[in-house]
Amino acid sequence: MQHKLTGKDMAVRILLVDDHPIVRQGLRTLLQGRGDWEVVGEASDGVEALEKIDDLQPDVVVLDVTMPRMNGLEACRVIQQKHKNAGPEVLFVTQHDSPQMMREALDAGARGYVVKSNAARDLLEAVESVSNHRVFTALARAPQVSS
């Protein structure tokens, strides 16, 4: 997958997708610590996420699995079909602490998978990894990064 970032000075542009505004606020707060990252927008379901991706062209999409209208897995598959290798990297942040769901997310084309209950621990490292095209997966146990 190609990435639009070309230089060290360019900010990583992040789109947050979750149906709970309070979770999006929590994600935003966690990401604020990094001056070189920018949250460029938010969406509350998969359909809105696809529209925002077209408009905002983020580098990383932080995506929930369970959402109304279109869930995260479907949205991820559409992103892959539509953008081929030139689209944003997808990082799932979900309540599903399950190897099966993680496998399904990676099969759908995601680059990363983090469990919501551990997001405060794993999110920054996960965004760092996926924005550099490295796989990051973390269930309840310790996180794993691979290239």
Partner: protein
Amino acid sequence: MKLRILLADDHEIVRRGLCALLQKREGWEVCGEASDGREAVEMAKRLKPDVVIVDIGMPSLNGLDTTRQLLAHDPHFKVIVLTITDSDQVIREALDAGARGFVLKSDAARDLVSAVEALQSKRMFFTPRVNDLVLAGFLDKGHVVARNEPPNLPTLTVREREITQLLAEGKSSKEVATLLNLSTKTVETHRSNIMRKLSLHSIRDLVVYAIKNNIIQIQMPEPTRVAAETTVA
């Protein structure tokens, strides 16, 4: 003088979101954060917050029993319950437990500030659906509110509910004893009483009872290859 708020939710990401929302208000401060109900009760006793916001689905001690314990300790505590579900039974239990506010997590960004303001002004705040239900129950003399309630459930004591939750979460009697600072023998006695009162015969039955009665909440089924879902995370 600042309004002091204690937050209890097992997801740090939600607490971060709630903190950011509440601390935008001048004169409000989040004086503490707890990641389960037991910690919330301890912190509330120590910090004496003006408002306590509790998630229902917390490990170790759920939000409803947290509310009961807080109000048993001090009836002046003002508790707002946060929940992902507005089922009749959960609403009824939250009201029975003494919560003065009831906010859906999905609406928290919109409603939570209003809820805290209401409690600050010695009023109650309920999400619109709860208002409808309470009104319907009032007009129908309780018939609507009670319609979905399990019939004639035996009453467990506060201690028995605590132990039920811990056992249903998979803890052994010894682990429960350590957590609650009791002897293993005392826990075993409570356990026998619980099983007898509820006519249960195995831990599996106890887990089913705990789920049905909102003592514990389970993760939702995995949405494998589904096109759309309506449940919230």
